[in-house]
């Protein structure tokens, strides 16, 4: 049976949290302004009202403290879901995340589990002030012990968050904030795919575009535009950055022979570098062009009046497609 509803991305996340709170009394939410206010993006709207102050906690303004106390909750048998208010404010918690959260399962030889979700609204394109538009996912994907995912659609928002909460491992959950207001069908009865599977968002023949989170939509638009020029681009929504579903991606690249990876984060040592390196290694004789990358420049995220230039858009994606095809 399929029960689909039309939800915004934000509401899908809210529904996923609500359902998780309902299903498991050990699920607790922690973060700044997530209670009465419902979070600055309203992702936790009404949840404190309905589940109480002990399940949905307004934390003191200290990210390290939030993640660090969440570790304690996890050790006590809870499943904490932590909200970092904006991408640029995760760094004060960096030590707790990479040196504690990521390592506890390994260092305890598996006797300790940290089933924590760290939700991070990320990325630009909303005209925000400094520190509110960053894409630090590579830092976490490089860190063993963390799982890193980023949904691109309301349905994935709903299900991937549910699955992240259910995961026995810590999951850094990157929410593309510029997509919060996008609407889409959500089937709340059946997950579309496992948490770490990539998804062919649009099949195609001539070249593979790989993206995740906010850039999937841009790639789909690029593919639609290219179609008008007679080009058939395949779009792979990676969904997960640790692990990355390489089999799905490689299968696509073997078919198309060309790959362009797109993300907002700076290209230099961004997730695209790993994808390019690994896909090249595995598909060396299938590649007709080098893997090209479209992403942010090597600079601090710029003031918002320059972000249009900074952010990959349809034209920059198509420019890379042209260059790849020119090989």
């Amino acid at each position: 049976m399929t029960v689909t509803t039309q939800l915004t991305f934000a509401k899908a996340l809210n529904s996923a949290l609500r359902r998780s709170l309902e299903l498991d009394p050990k699920v607790v939410l922690m973060g700044e302004d997530i209670g009465r206010l419902g979070g600055v993006f309203r992702i936790t709207e009404d949840l404190q009202k309905d589940f109480g102050e002990h399940r949905v906690m307004d934390s003191p303004l200290a990210e390290s403290g939030i993640v660090g106390t969440a570790v304690g909750y996890a050790l006590r048998g809870y499943r904490p879901v932590v909200e970092i208010q904006f991408d640029g404010f995760v760094y004060p918690a960096f030590d707790q995340i990479v040196a504690q959260v990521a390592k506890l399962h390994a260092r305890s030889l598996g006797t300790v589990r940290i089933p924590m979700v760290i939700r991070i609204p990320y990325g630009g394109g909303i005209g925000a002030v400094e520190h509110h538009s960053e894409s630090p996912e590579a830092l976490f994907a490089h860190t063993a012990g963390l799982r890193v995912v980023s949904p691109a659609t309301p349905e994935d928002a709903y299900w991937m968050l549910r699955q992240a909460v259910d995961s026995e491992d810590p999951v850094v959950f990157f929410e593309p904030k510029r997509r919060y207001w996008d609407k889409g069908e959500v089937d709340t009865e059946r997950p579309p795919a496992p948490l770490h599977a990539a998804r062919i968002a649009r099949p195609g023949e001539h070249l593979t575009l790989a993206a995740y989170g906010p850039m999937v939509k841009v790639c789909l638009e690029a593919a639609a535009a290219a179609e008008r020029d007679g080009l058939s681009l395949e779009v792979v929504d990676l969904r997960s950055l640790s692990p990355i579903d390489f089999p799905t991606l490689e299968e696509s690249v073997r078919r198309t022979g060309r790959l362009v990876v797109v993300h907002e984060a700076p290209v230099f040592l961004g997730t695209g570098s790993e994808i390019a390196a690994r896909v090249t290694e595995r598909c060396f004789y299938h590649l007709e062009a080098p893997v090209l990358r479209v992403g942010g420049f090597h600079l601090p995220y710029p003031p918002s009046r320059l972000e249009e230039t900074y952010l990959p858009d349809l034209d920059r994606v198509l420019d890379a497609v042209d260059r790849a095809l020119a090989h």
Binding site: R36, D58, G127, F297, P303, L306, D319
Partner: protein, 382 residues
């Protein structure tokens, strides 16, 4: 706590063991009642000439007007965001006027009043929130650092600067501004501790405006915030943050304390954020209108105006003149903001590094070529 010293215990004169927190101290320094009456507090002398009093009044009125204008400009889409200081004028103007020109300021993101006193053009502030720059002014030109948006990061910068100034042999003092919520950040505690251990000449000026976005101060601290200093071994004091004279006098005393080598001071200016956290915020979701109304009665500008009137230092004509000046300021800001151009795309790369960095050069060149290709195709009428 009440601990028994070895000696006392041995002598059998022990006080009883009890686990007790330090007593809560909600007292605050006030020099001006909400009605504008002057209070005299022994040990806290403050002689202001009528001219100085009027200057502070003018500062507050102009800054409030400018602040309102910026809020309006945001509503009109000219700014991406604004962080109103509404209600916190006295805390900012009073404390900033205690500074010497060679003192150095580390603000957070709401210190428009302090910026004003330091001579930063309001336009420079506004451009940051318009999104044309992340900086906006030369910190050295005003001894006023850039706004820091990462909550709690800059008190450490202030502390280091103060240590460096002391090391230079200068008698410069440093002041840093942050909010009640910010005190929860580990970095702020580290700043308190570094400053205490090194006896750094820094004044920590916390504007307790009762709210950190939607969280009231009780979510941030179990005790009044000025008491935090006790645990680090330096003085903390609460001042009526809507009383510009008290803010001036206490900050002056604290700066003197710091300057003279006695180490840091924490000032908690007890005030109220009359507006939203930012223009993106909707405070009706989390607080009651009644609270705001109570604070209206303690308005910092009305208070000083009452005092000026009561003492005969200013009359209606003066107040009208200041209001007119405020309107002119608002007009100028509005006009200039609207005509502020967006930066050219390639300026993106200008200041990532002070010295050359090939990757940045390469990306600049690639972007230039890419943008040029549009110029071509645009010309071709693509």
């Amino acid at each position: 706590m009440s601990a028994t010293t070895t000696a006392a215990a041995a002598a059998g004169a022990a006080t009883a063991f009890r686990l007790e927190a330090a007593p809560v101290d909600t007292g605050q320094v006030q020099l001006l009642t909400p009605d504008g009456e002057r209070i005299h507090v022994p040990g806290l002398d403050l002689d202001c000439t009528p001219g100085e009093l009027r200057a502070m009044y003018r500062d507050m009125v102009l800054v409030r007007r400018f602040d309102n204008e910026a809020t309006a400009l945001q509503r009109q889409g000219e700014l991406g965001l604004w962080t109103p200081l509404l209600g916190q004028e006295a805390a900012q103007i009073g404390s900033a006027r205690a500074l010497r020109p060679d003192d150095f300021v580390f603000p957070s993101y709401r210190e428009h009043g302090v910026a004003w006193v330091r001579g930063v053009d309001p336009l420079d502030l506004v451009r940051v929130f318009r999104g044309t720059t992340n900086g906006g002014w030369d910190p050295q030109a005003h001894n006023f650092h850039l706004y820091t948006l990462v909550v709690g990061a800059h008190p450490l910068h202030a502390t280091g600067y103060a240590m460096g100034a002391a090391q230079d042999g200068a008698d410069t003092a440093v002041i840093t501004y942050f909010g009640d919520g910010s005190t929860s950040q580990g970095d702020v505690s580290e700043a308190f501790n570094f400053a205490a251990v090194h006896g750094a000449p820094v004044v920590f000026f916390c504007q307790n405006n009762q709210w950190a976005i939607s969280e009231p101060t009780e979510r941030q601290s179990r005790v009044p915030i000025h008491q935090r200093a006790q645990g680090f071994g330096f003085p903390g004091v609460r001042v009526d943050g809507n009383d510009v004279l008290a803010c001036l006098a206490v900050t002056r005393a604290a700066l003197e304390h710091a300057r003279s080598g006695q180490g840091p001071v924490l000032i908690e200016a007890y005030t109220y954020r009359m507006g939203a956290h930012t223009t993106s915020d909707d405070p009706t979701r989390y607080r009651h209108e009644a609270e705001r109304e109570q604070w209206t009665a303690k308005d910092p500008i009305a208070r000083l105006r009452a005092h000026l009137t009561r003492e005969g230092h200013a009359d209606e004509a003066y107040f009208a003149e200041v209001d007119a000046e405020a309107e002119r300021l608002a007009l100028r800001v509005r006009a200039e903001v609207r005509s502020t151009p967006d930066p050219a795309p390639l300026t993106l790369f200008d200041h990532v590094y002070a010295e050359r960095h090939p990757l940045v050069d390469q990306e600049r060149d690639e972007l230039a070529r890419y943008l040029d290709s549009f110029a071509d195709t645009d010309a071709e009428g693509r």
